[in-house]
């Protein structure tokens, strides 16, 4: 028989003794209490708590995908955890609104005490970026310094180590590259897709060329636009061009993984692709949410300190704006819609493949 567990007290369970005594305003210490410093501390602590939770989720998802054979029952769990991260991210974004209840003048009352502490030193946020798979080379520098420069030795070590761990990005790349179905005896996704794109483009061009209502000038303009569409597709269809983009740092996912991602997006309604589709979508959601957070963070910093130099010795505002643009991890997936074509122009899948993508129960019933 089971025994009852020892009784638990709310305050002990949550370690409220240490949690609620961890707010030590500097302005109090210097005998010049500034009311709003408490808010400043608590809002940052709330951020760090949520960062810990995000790391907890990312860590578990990462482990699932490290395996050579990802258990399909796990994809559902992974999707739920990524979704949880997006819900938390919305809190992170809304928390900026809480900081904005502190006016510039109120911040000035304790700002000098904090120098040179800075959000730039949040280790957990860097660990999140590394776990997701932000490339070291893509990191925006602050005053020409690397992101691990301004932190303690111990923290620096943690950051460098985390760079060497397998990131979610890398696991996904590998997982995608292994996905079956793209190339079977009866089906070659690549050839199908290439053909469908060809027909579509041919059609589009012929509409422009033969449209009697266009002036020559307009026709030329539309043909120029059409050319850029063609170029876009070639950057994917022509493997050499694609590899060149990888070399230039404009693409990162392997060509095979990119095709797999495309396949998943185009045939997402097939049962076995449904969860992989949602999984990829949530990765882009997470990227988009952090992008939004960085952007709004930049606006908030500007509104509170203006063009002043930040406590960490930088124009935090401009640094953050740049990271919003450059710190996207799943940019290749974010760009995927460029390559989607209408369902109606997509050839139907062969029956054999459709069966393979379905549930066992229905497939055997239909046999």
């Amino acid at each position: 028989m089971k025994k009852p567990f020892p009784p638990v007290y709310y305050a002990d369970y949550l370690k409220l003794d240490s949690l609620l005594t961890s707010q030590k305003p500097k302005s109090d210490e210097y005998g010049d209490p500034a009311h709003d410093e408490m808010l400043f501390i608590i809002v940052h602590q709330a951020y760090e708590l949520w960062f810990k939770q995000i790391l907890h989720e990312l860590g578990s998802v990462s482990e699932m995908f490290l395996k050579d054979n990802v258990d399909e029952r796990n994809i559902g769990v992974a999707v739920a955890r990524l979704r949880r991260i997006t819900v938390i991210q919305k809190l992170l974004i809304d928390q900026l609104g809480v900081i904005e209840t502190m006016t510039p003048l109120d911040f000035l009352e304790f700002r000098d005490y904090l120098i040179p502490a800075s959000g730039f030193q949040s280790i957990q946020f860097r660990l999140i970026e590394n776990k997701l798979g932000l490339n070291f080379d893509n990191r925006v520098k602050l005053n020409n310094m690397n992101y691990y420069t301004l932190v303690s030795d111990e923290h620096q070590k943690m950051l460098l180590e985390s760079q060497n761990e397998v990131s979610i990005y890398e696991s996904i790349d590998k997982w995608l590259s292994r996905i079956p179905f793209l190339n079977t005896d009866h089906f070659d996704f690549w050839k199908y897709y290439e053909g469908a794109v060809g027909v579509m483009l041919e059609n589009e061009k012929s509409i422009i060329v033969n449209n009697p209502s266009l002036t020559d000038e307009k026709r030329e303009k539309q043909l120029a636009m059409f050319a850029s569409t063609v170029e876009n597709f070639e950057a994917l269809l022509d493997e050499k061009k694609y590899e060149a983009l990888i070399t230039e740092g404009q693409r990162r996912l392997s060509h095979r993984s990119m095709l797999a991602a495309l396949f998943i997006n185009l045939y997402r309604d097939e049962p076995i692709l449904h969860l992989p589709y949602r999984f990829l979508t949530y990765l882009v959601d997470i990227d988009e949410n952090f992008t939004t957070w960085r952007y709004k963070h930049a606006l908030m910093v500007h509104r509170i300190i203006g063009a002043k130099v930040g406590t960490g010795g930088s124009s935090g505002h401009e640094y953050l704006l740049k990271t919003a643009e450059k710190h996207k991890v799943f940019k290749d997936l974010f760009d995927l819609p460029t390559y989607l074509i209408p369902r109606s122009e997509l050839p139907a899948l062969p029956e054999e493949l459709k069966k393979n993508l379905g549930f066992y129960y229905t497939a055997t019933l239909n046999n």
Copy 2:
């Protein structure tokens, strides 16, 4: 000359060492790790951090209004701090959505370890209710127990002490009762208002009585409704009836304070009343937000545990629903719109009073 302050490090400033090591899942302790327990801990810790911040704001506002002579420059500050509380409350409400990413089945994996800990034991939330001024007699009981029954002796002492401190509710009641302008040599707000209400009701009745398009049945129905309107107004206009409501526990603000609040609402565009109007409005906002939080909290609990008995040994769901209804502190202010009448039916204020309610600069200019 000023000296530079000693340099500050982000992680030290925020006490991250203790903050980020305060998550100790019981399921880990028992060797049966449940992934979602981390979320459960962190979301509750985030709540407690924000509760601390809300107490910080309420404490400062309370101190401002304890004084016999409230400095008018402070009302603007108090308004800003109450507004901050409402922004934080929106986070608290949205955090419920984070908990809801934990499914009932996931919660069951560690629920038994936590017995009998319960959110019912959050001391800070009780302190918030007491600081706002929740009346002990209005508190909903849980399984017939008082709200301070299930907590440690030390915490019980804190709660009982806080009941004896002057609450914001009480300070506001006193402050409102002292507001000048309602009764001057040239102006008696009470008489004006009573008269205006009389005219308005007379008018309304005569419309019903003389409306030729009404059937007798409809007229009777409308007259019944009208009677209930009259009754509503009498419960305010007739001081004895009002006092009776206080005795019955249906009203709590003194009659004089209620009138002052009404005056402030009706003439809120006069400069000196603008901030008091916003102040009263934010008190109702805070009440409304906690009400919403309790209600959504109840829904969330139901969705996660259903009709099961809560870890604290109660139907948390039903208890929370009842507090949503009964734990409003500023119910009298919430009911105020009942007594508002259209601006067009309100007599203009005498010039002398208007001057008194204006700024010095314009008033003297116009002299």
Copy 3:
């Protein structure tokens, strides 16, 4: 070759000519313009636009589930559309905040012109309730009147007709009752579940009885709580008791459907159950969101008109509060967590069944 489609102009496509001239404030008509009436009109029109969209989504989902054989590829589509409804519902809730920027005094400036129009007359909202499957008998009455009393004859006809259409509730009930797997040659979910519940309850009881640290009084209390848990489970396990609840109007789903929903919830990680699980969850989300909307709507109405009689001749506030409580359509699903038991106490599924619940591809691979 395809032809280009005729060019489209933004304003024509969106019928802005009629859309943006459909705001006719009564206060303008009566020569006494009230600035805020425009807001009042536009916010209600925005609600009606979104209601139309919700009806569009519900209609399409309803059609999918009307069929005797629900195509599994459709469940993913249905889930996406229900999710869209929940995103729209969050807008509906936030729109209440826009109305709250209108103060009671500002509303009074045009309120009398609108009598007896009332949100109670929104046909589309009633159609949504009917399409979801709100039972006529569960509808809260307003001043003792049926919900279709105060509308035009044409609208009344629409409402009565919609009551006779198959609702989503009914389709779901039928669909659930047909779900296979609960009873196969090798597996009887019902027996498994019943057994697991029995073991769990036995265990719980023995903990209470044998716990040496309990006083007699506490033990008795806990045994009383335990008895209520047992009762809860019996209301499901004992088919007769369940049928009695249906007769009393406390349950509505058939017993078989309720079991199917339970099965889906307990084994949601099995591939074929994943989307059905999400589908059921979104139905409860939609219910919960409308409940929240009604509740906050009630608070908003109270804040704007207080205890005054509404323009439609009723206490809108109290009516709305009651509908928040009573107009839940999927209450049975909402209560489901009551019957969940920890995964660890659930017997593993037989291999044959697991295969049936999986994908064809993996199942055949493993063969």
Copy 4:
């Protein structure tokens, strides 16, 4: 005696007949119904409804500030209306999340029918920008075209006319330039402020120069940063430099207005400055919200069409990103925090001035 107004019916009042029949999907027209086109239409119509409301609010605020003598009672009203706009803007931002429930593949099903219609043709949004005061020269061009190029002649005329109306920006500039108090017999704000900045900078420099713990290299770095701070202040303190910035298009507010805005920000707790402070703050909020909306709009467009050419024949994504950066109207106010200095370093106001900034009632009491 008043007469009752003729009875009003909900559906008539809201013109639901035309409102709810204004959705005409092109895909229906072409016999190839795409389910999601309804969402596409309704979400755009909801935007246009809210744009109309925003124009309604901006128009009324603009009228108040056109007068030579802005009635101070109106500032409170104007603040409430600007605040309402910010609440609506949050809806506009959240509505993007509704569009994002439409996947790229679903959009492709009707996209071709809409060419060349584009959100670029929303007249109301352009009118909002013009009414706020967006400078024609600052407008981002789309494919080298002016913003009024792609619209009908009638609409073009409306846009050009609106450019000639007095914008809120211009009224505010004029109003700020007229604000008294900055220069009285006993007080010269400019001199006070200049002095305080001088002391502050002197102090800061001396800390760097005399700090024994700094290496030479670090000292030099800090001095470089200090120099940029000095430069920032000179761009305000030195009227010639300020005028040069205006000529270069980097500043737009007159020097006198900028000082007035600074004064209002620094002494916002003085009663007469409280509402002007909130007014200026809301103008920046509105700018910030539209910036966020444009930025998230850009992200959304990218997610739905990728790098494809938009229906309007442009890379909507990049255009929107640029407008997020460049279409801020109140950039000068947004930059103001750069020039704030701590309250503690600000000289106290002379008693006479303080009285002038206070209420009549207290000022005369204290006499």
